[in-house]
């Protein structure tokens, strides 16, 4: 693990990159990395996340700045700017059921090709996808997702990069930390190694490439 500034982190991410970003309606989103991407105007991004938050909040900052080309998300209902850009053809929005989205990411991070689920069967979500019948249940094949970068928000990071999360800010964060080539963490607190008990570490340090310096 290396410690870098938010600006250095943003400089690692090229135009057109795919980025998984933690957060649920802006709670648990690594704001300093998002701010640095906006400042640098890194564009054409594919964002994989639960939602696009609200206008000007969390991932909504990237949307407002016109930096998102494609969004793979479960919900855009609380961000009218995403909807406007979708209608204007500026953002392609790929809506994925929330439970399917997180499992596709988990599959990507855990070395699996995809998952089988009943969610979406018989709806527009099934369109163009393969189904399997196993033990009499019809299941939809949903393929794994990975990204170039995961932008993770944590509550505590120790000097090695072990992470814990707080309250409802955990959401997608520990899962995306397994599913990207480069994992960058914005932690609310950086603490000495050993402060976090082994039983309480959620994301083990070897998964983390960079922690943003305070």
């Amino acid at each position: 693990m290396k410690t870098i500034s938010a600006e250095q982190a943003a400089a690692l991410i090229p135009d057109g990159a795919s980025v998984m970003i933690g957060g649920f309606m802006g709670v648990g989103t690594p704001e300093r990395i998002v701010d640095a991407l906006v400042a640098r105007r890194t564009g054409g991004l594919t964002v994989i996340a639960n939602d696009t938050a609200a206008p000007g909040v969390g991932i909504g900052k990237l949307v407002r700045a016109g930096l998102v080309r494609r969004a793979v998300v479960s919900h855009i209902g609380l961000n009218p700017e995403t909807q406007q850009q979708m209608i204007a053809g500026k953002i392609d929005v790929d809506l994925v059921p929330q439970g399917t989205l997180i499992e596709r990411i988990r599959a990507g991070g855990y070395g699996l090709g995809g998952i089988l689920t009943t969610t979406g069967i018989g709806t527009v979500v099934e369109t163009g996808k393969q189904t399997l019948v196993i033990d009499g249940r019809t299941l939809l094949v949903e393929v794994a997702l990975r990204a170039d970068f995961a932008l993770v928000s944590a509550f505590l990071a120790d000097y090695l990069g072990n992470l814990t999360y707080a309250l409802t800010a955990r959401n997608f964060n520990p899962i995306i930390a397994t599913a990207a080539d480069v994992v960058i963490v914005d932690a609310d607190n950086i603490v000495p190694t050993g402060v976090i008990s082994p039983d309480h570490i959620v994301t083990p340090a070897p998964l983390v490439d960079y922690v943003i310096a305070h």
Binding site: G77, I121, T168
Partner: protein, 223 residues
């Protein structure tokens, strides 16, 4: 009584001690205000919380503790937090006893449409498809009509949330079940007679031999 309150107070009667329950945004959220005395339920927020409590007092909110709509909540003693994979594992894996969701349309076969209106409103399905496909029991909280038009239709015209039929539909006029896959009138609200419900409903409704008055939870005990 406001329609939303009738619906919430009736659905609260479905709560049983020890249940794990997920409440959607809108009318479903109100159900938490009418938990019957002596009944302890675990409320789940799909953003990763079991033990969701009331809105905190002014100045006592925490920016990292919200419900699935991003609004500040409290966590009750014994609450737990977890990631989204666990949250939806609970939902799909048969661990969630009941989900209460809003609706745009429910059809005669009990199928629900509640996540988009093509050309008008495309918010995304969020967790709704997983909830309807995976919860042990699916209850819909929905006003009977919108702009004078029945929301209980012969066949859903809006995109479906799931092909799995819902278990119970509660409106401000009636409680409707789907035994044998067909909408059946089970209860009427105070001051409402069977003919009123039939007149307000587009879908063909079977009428139970024993239509009962809707029991309503007393107001008051919150969480």
């Amino acid at each position: 009584m406001e329609p939303q309150v009738v619906i919430a107070r009736r659905i609260a009667q479905e709560l049983r001690d020890g249940m794990l329950v997920n409440l959607g945004i809108g009318i479903p959220t109100l159900v938490a205000n009418y938990v019957p005395p002596g009944v302890h339920v675990f409320f789940q927020s799909e953003n990763g919380l079991i033990g969701t409590g009331a809105v905190p007092e002014a100045g006592m909110h925490h920016r990292l503790l919200t419900d699935a709509g991003g609004r500040p909540v409290t966590a009750l003693p014994g609450a737990s937090t977890f990631d989204s994979a666990m949250s939806f594992g609970l939902i799909r894996g048969g661990h969630l006893d009941m989900t209460v969701l809003g609706g745009l349309e429910v059809d005669a076969a009990g199928r629900l449409a509640n996540w988009m209106i093509p050309g008008k409103m495309v918010p995304g399905m969020g967790g709704a498809m997983d909830l309807v496909s995976g919860a042990r029991r699916v209850v819909v909280a929905m006003q009977h009509t919108a702009k004078g038009k029945s929301k209980i239709v012969r066949k859903c015209q809006l995109p479906l949330t799931s092909v799995r039929p819902v278990d119970l539909l509660v409106t401000e006029l009636a409680v409707i079940g789907f035994p044998g896959g067909h909408a059946t009138l089970l209860e009427t609200a105070p001051g409402v007679v069977v003919a009123d419900v039939l007149a307000a409903t587009e879908a063909e409704l079977l009428v139970s031999d024993d239509v009962r008055p809707m029991p309503l939870a007393a107001s008051g005990v919150s969480y």
